[in-house]
Symmetry: C2
Subunit: 443 residues, 2 copies
């Protein structure tokens, strides 16, 4: 079998064999892969240079955005980050074999819920090629086989990375076929039909791209789509914190999903705050688009926002500003126009902050911190396969834990249900303090 079915069958077969890999063997394989990436870095960077040259041409033709080209670049510094990421994944507790629930059902019958791999995971992402590496490490450490499709603009970089990881994992005795790379959009459409073998799809991209995937498959989808992020600056905000955070959240790296898009400013705080942040933004080349009250306050240095600005994801040095009358208006705006990704409140008043945290329906809600902290590495998860904008299975930055499921093991001694239905016996439902690995040791 060739084509996508062949790749998926190979991944499926590998995933079954991966069930017997120990923690140690998965960690060792990651170390081998890290060494190989570092050893072959010149080759990977050369492939990336080829991709970049083509992208620059398309940028000049206005077919690619500057943000896209920025995300595409993979230099030695970024590769060092990739290798560091492996160490961070390796050093985490093994996400597999964890006892999540242990209960005595009766004196002679025990139930254990044990974390295990999901199986075969399909990941479809855009330009950033370090996503390929990060995803591969997370899937290997969590015992899953993975089928990936990167952006066409990073084709050569992705192939170079894939080849290095694939041969290094063969050296490390990881079942052949556990990692697969798809070549084209057509292959993705084929993949969507293989719900008999693929357990989970992780599409990363625009809202409409994630919806397209959801519309065309019966495989479970963990969508990682747009980050339309808001910061609400309350009247109780500390001025220095507000300016520092709103500047960082926009300027530090504008091309990413957790950069802020819209500032919502309490009307009693606008007069002090807006001129100050405006000066900083102008200095950094940020284009500010204001609501009518903002334009009135700041004058002609501010462009007037249009309806399209509310709920827009800029991925660039653009920010929209809206003056609101109170906390309720801010919460309502965030829940209506945001993408439930990451939103922040700047406030000293704790009851105000608490209401914002509890009533905003987003994966990540920050109090007096930059939205840019929304990230698996920064959260201490080791790395991330993306930031889930769905609510099901995994929400927000998704690391090793988000790539596992669980099984229930029931260990009995001949127990039958009739005894409990007839009330000859009664369930004890006593929590057990021992783990499944304790049980295994005693067998």
């Amino acid at each position: 079998l060739i084509g996508v079915r062949g790749k998926v069958n190979a991944a499926k077969a590998a995933s079954t064999k991966m069930l017997t890999l120990t923690t140690e063997s998965r960690r060792k394989a990651l170390a081998t892969i890290a060494e190989a990436i570092w050893k072959d870095r010149e080759q990977i960077i050369a492939a990336n240079q080829q991709d970049l040259r083509e992208a620059e041409i398309l940028l000049q033709k206005k077919m690619y955005s500057e943000a896209l080209v920025k995300r595409l670049k993979l230099d030695e510094k970024k590769l060092r980050g990739v290798v560091k990421m492996i160490n961070s994944v390796m050093s985490r507790d093994d996400p597999l074999g964890r006892t999540e629930y242990a209960v005595e059902l009766d004196e002679d019958m025990e139930l254990y819920r044990i974390s295990c791999p999901i199986g075969v995971i399909g990941v479809i992402f855009e330009s950033r090629p370090d996503v390929l590496a990060q995803t591969a490490f997370l899937c290997l450490m969590s015992g899953n086989a993975v089928i990936m499709k990167g952006g066409s603009e990073a084709k050569k970089t992705n192939e170079a990375l894939y080849n290095v990881i694939d041969s290094a994992s063969i050296d490390a005795d990881i079942p052949v076929g556990w990692i697969q790379l798809l070549d084209s959009r057509t292959e993705v459409n084929e993949l969507l039909k293989l719900d008999d073998s693929v357990d989970l799809l992780v599409p990363r991209g625009s809202n409409s791209f994630v919806k397209y995937i959801q519309d065309n498959t019966r495989i479970a989808v963990l969508g990682h789509s747009e980050g339309v992020c808001q910061i609400y600056v309350d009247r109780s905000a500390d001025l220095a914190k507000a300016v520092g955070i709103c500047y960082d959240a926009k300027v530090q790296y504008p091309a990413v999903c957790n950069a802020v898009d819209t500032l919502l400013v309490h009307r009693e705080f606008a007069e002090n705050f807006l001129p100050m942040i405006m000066d900083r933004y102008v200095e950094a080349g940020v284009e500010v688009r204001g609501c009518s009250r903002t334009v009135e306050l700041l004058g002609s240095s501010v462009k007037a926002a249009t309806e399209d600005d509310w709920g827009a994801e800029y991925l660039d040095l653009i920010v929209s500003v809206k003056i609101v009358n109170n906390l309720d208006e801010a919460i309502e705006y965030v829940n209506e126009f945001g993408s439930h990704h990451t939103d922040a409140i700047i406030a000293e008043d704790s009851s105000t902050a608490l209401r914002f945290l509890e009533e905003v329906d987003s994966a990540n809600i920050f109090w007096n911190a930059s939205t840019r902290f929304s990230d698996g590495y920064r959260y201490g998860l080791g790395a991330e396969v993306g930031i889930s904008t769905g609510k099901i299975h995994a929400r927000g930055p998704t690391g090793l834990e988000g790539l596992t499921t669980y099984k229930y093991y029931l260990v009995g001694s001949g127990n039958i249900v009739k005894d409990y239905v007839d009330a000859a016996k009664k369930f004890t439902h006593r929590n057990l303090s021992k783990s499944w690995s304790d049980v295994k040791k005693d067998l």
Copy 2:
């Protein structure tokens, strides 16, 4: 707005208001509902009698199966079970507001992962009307609004139960509209389109029904479909345990998904075991369909199985028997023909049992116990919305925890990402022992 959109909008509005319900108010509401169900039991049973009369007619016309009619019946004994179920749900720890992860990101910045409701859940199920009640209790306790569609054969019973629950929850100050009942299959098709407001669908039914739902919606689907359950009787099995379990798993209640469908018997154990279990089965009126070796061994009392028997869900007093050569054959059979629901091994040899537990890819894997224990109440989960046959979000019996998601709260003091990228500051990533409720108390 009327119709399905009106019901969904009402549920969505209620779900937002439900965020502020305390543990105590949700428990109190459940107590009020329990009282109302018991008070109005005659009315509910009368409605059920109407449904039963119609069902009996269709049974005589062979349009309904006996299993369906059995599942439809709701008498005083079953209603007492329903009320008991509420107490079991009420007495569980609150699934909301739990701190699942707490980490210090830096000395002045902390991250908390807090469990919260999913939002609006759609549950589509078949004949058993107690499912409506159980689902309503679980959704209310987990802070979710719910939209339900039961089987048309239980229409009057479901309406009666719904009306009692709806008015009792208004008495208990639960936001109006949190529970909705759909009338028809057409309304279900409408519901599938409303992915802007419905967060999760839980279809319970046949494999093809779940696939139909998956094919026609972009809402996340938690499928609860067929239980094709196997028991592997190893050569190291204890004879008495094997007979007791295989009998219970088939006879105790054959109309349910966790009843056994196929026995896989090690060839060295077949001669002792099969005649004994056969006697018990014949006594109970179980039809046995055997593989050729089984027929050879047991003679004409056994029907010959056809290809359709392997992987069939009987929901009736029928069982298929296959003699296998070894453990590997049994594991391979289970992973290929089963529905990854519940499978058991009867064995005294622990290394054999361990391999079965680890290599079978099912939600519930039992060692020396009846498959009939696969159930949220028996597992100590309080109750269940169903038994998930998917691997994503929730697997196996799904109780309160499976109806929650989480949010990340980051509490900072003006922190910006630039400091960490420039290495002016370093993450501490120290686990915190305090919970979010501790933090709230100190605010």
